[in-house]
């Protein structure tokens, strides 16, 4: 999934560079990438979402 996320980011950078008029699409893809990154972190830590320390 990390691979997929980097591909999305790469595509967004290309849009910024070569297709600046696709700003809305680029931003939405960046948001999707953020969500994917956050989801993967949550999947990896879902057994204890908060740090294992005295809060």
């Amino acid at each position: 999934m990390e691979f997929l996320n980097f591909l999305i980011i790469l595509f967004v950078a290309w849009l910024i560079w070569r297709r600046p008029e696709k700003e809305r699409l680029a931003f939405r893809l960046m948001v999707a990438s953020c969500v994917l990154m956050a989801l993967m972190f949550l999947i990896a830590t879902h057994g204890s979402l908060l740090p294992g320390l005295n809060l």
């Binding site: 990390e2 980097f6 980011i9 953020c34 990154m37 972190f41 990896a44 979402l49």
Partner: protein, 518 residues
């Protein structure tokens, strides 16, 4: 007007993107591909977060400092900081040199991740403070030479990351690993995993979600016949006594000083009482201030250490208090909410355990012969085991810990474990630890040298036993309501227990824990 123009902002931002891309993200991918240094799944998420912050910077270079791009950077900075703290929490508190994976300039990557997210947030804040609003343009901007360099570098580095991610983590639905393996161009060495951790409940605290015990009330079956140890002999209650002075709160432990015959009683409202030998007169009294220092939760243990009183709490904190005719009441005001006077607090600190970590306790005893303090852990749904911990009574540092075994003559029921007992009171005499369990109203006798339960007795007719003290040949089992059952102290000689050590013993003190969190 002072400040910087948007054009200057974009130049600074372009260099910030270059720094972020070529610095942590670029170095990471070079280390990965050239030297085999592979990130774990948490590292991957933090690396992606840094890449996304740089990407948001490219948005600003192209479309100007619009709120949604700046907001995205703030959000990523905050989320990335959380990820770094969550990740670091796995390793920060371990012993010296016991970090995880590679370190640079004395800090591991998860610590650098937090530093980088923090620096990005600070940099953004400074730029926004300095930005002249009247210089902000509308529309799409030309990238300029620096912007094009930043974007080109970004695409090269992200492309390299994509290659590393494909090799190390695979295409969807495969994803990163908790314990990654070194990078290799050889497909035979590639390990792509679909995470088994997707199974299991979502929890906030995981292994730290330990319910706090009430030291004055244990929700458990009190019938010894239903306990894990079968066919126990009964100890008859010879007499009943009681604490005949009013206490502030419910009694949670009782100790007796063999030298003077005085008693020490503690309550769940942080009351500490020194009582005379007849339990009918208060010689000293304080109510502890539990705030403003080490966490002092409900007191659950009491012991005499010579003239010093030791009060233990369920969270393994302790206080040393001493009757002191010269006590300065003005000074002691900071320690006590109430005091009868003539009492000084010497120290408040914490017992540190290893096997009993993430477990509460509800007992405290002083082993005079070994000059050690003793606690017995309270089981929880996540930590189903009984751990006896001993601490040097000089420095209060851990001396030993063990899961008691079961001696000959004692048998557990099928699929039963010693960890079903909830020890709420403990006292040591002649090398034997007498541990009173409120669950199944059972007295366990442990040989501390042999680390073995050598005897166990049913003590029927008790209601919420919370403490136990020794008086000559008797044991005084205190209840939360202040009543005290007097029983004859079982007199197992340590020599007999030594025989048990050589006999076949079973590891019966633990049961499989509930599924631990990630």
């Amino acid at each position: 007007m002072t400040g910087i123009s948007e054009a200057r902002l974009r130049t600074v931002l372009a260099w910030a993107v270059v720094l972020l891309t070529a610095g942590p993200v670029g170095v990471a991918v070079v280390l990965g591909i050239a030297f085999g240094e592979s990130p774990c799944i948490l590292c991957w998420a933090q690396r992606v977060s840094m890449v996304l912050m740089a990407l948001a910077g490219l948005f600003v270079l192209r479309y100007g400092p619009r709120p949604r791009y700046l907001g995205t950077v703030v959000l990523l900075g905050a989320w990335g900081s959380f990820m770094a703290i969550r990740h670091s929490a796995l390793h920060l508190a371990r012993d010296v040199g016991q970090g995880f994976a590679a370190s640079f300039f004395g800090a591991h990557t998860y610590v650098w991740s937090w530093v980088i997210h923090f620096v990005v947030l600070v940099t953004l804040a400074v730029l926004l403070i300095l930005l002249r609003e009247d210089s902000v343009e509308r529309g799409t901007r030309e990238l300029g030479r620096t912007g094009r360099f930043a974007l080109g570098l970004f695409m090269v580095v992200v492309g390299a990351n994509a290659v590393q991610a494909f090799v190390s983590t695979g295409p969807p639905p495969f994803m990163g690993q908790g314990d990654p393996i070194r990078f290799s161009w050889n497909p035979r060495n590639w390990v792509w995993m679909f995470r088994g951790e997707l199974r299991g409940a979502v929890t906030l605290r995981g292994a730290w979600d330990i319910p706090k015990p009430d030291p004055a009330h244990v929700e458990a079956d009190a019938d010894p016949a239903n306990g894990p140890l079968a066919d126990l002999s009964s100890l008859a209650v010879q007499a009943w006594e009681r604490v005949s002075v009013p206490l502030d709160g419910r009694l949670t432990d009782l100790a007796r000083d063999p030298a003077t015959g005085r008693f020490l009683a503690v309550t769940d409202r942080h009351g500490v009482y020194v009582l005379d030998a007849s339990l009918s007169k208060v010689e000293h009294r304080v109510r502890l201030d539990p705030m403003f220092s080490v966490d002092i939760q409900a007191p659950s243990g009491a012991a005499f250490l010579g003239d010093t009183l030791v009060v233990g709490t369920i969270n393994k904190s302790y206080l040393l208090i001493r009757p002191d005719p010269a006590a300065d009441e003005g000074f002691e005001w900071r320690h006590f909410l109430e005091t009868s006077g003539g009492m000084s607090e010497l120290r408040r600190s914490r017992f540190a355990t290893v096997r009993a970590r993430l477990m509460y306790v509800s007992s405290l005893a002083h082993d005079r012969a070994a000059h050690e303090m003793v606690t017995v852990s309270v089981p929880s749904p996540r930590q189903r085991r009984m751990v006896v911990s001993t601490f040097d009574a000089g420095d209060f540092v851990l001396a030993s810990e063990f899961l008691p075994r079961l001696g000959p003559g004692l048998a557990l029921g099928e699929k039963r474990t010693l960890a079903e007992y909830v020890v709420t009171g403990a006292v040591v005499e002649d090398g034997l630890l007498y541990a009173m369990s409120a669950a199944y109203s059972t007295l366990l006798v442990l040989d501390l040298a042999a680390k073995t339960v050598v005897e166990a007795y049913a003590v029927p007719s008790l209601d919420q036993p919370v403490g136990i003290a020794s008086r000559d040949g008797e044991l005084l089992i205190a209840q939360a309501d202040g009543r005290i059952a007097v029983v004859t102290r079982p007199g197992t000689a340590p020599a007999a227990a030594g025989e048990a050590e050589g006999a076949a013993v079973a590891d019966t003190a633990s049961a499989p824990a509930a599924s631990p969190g990630a």
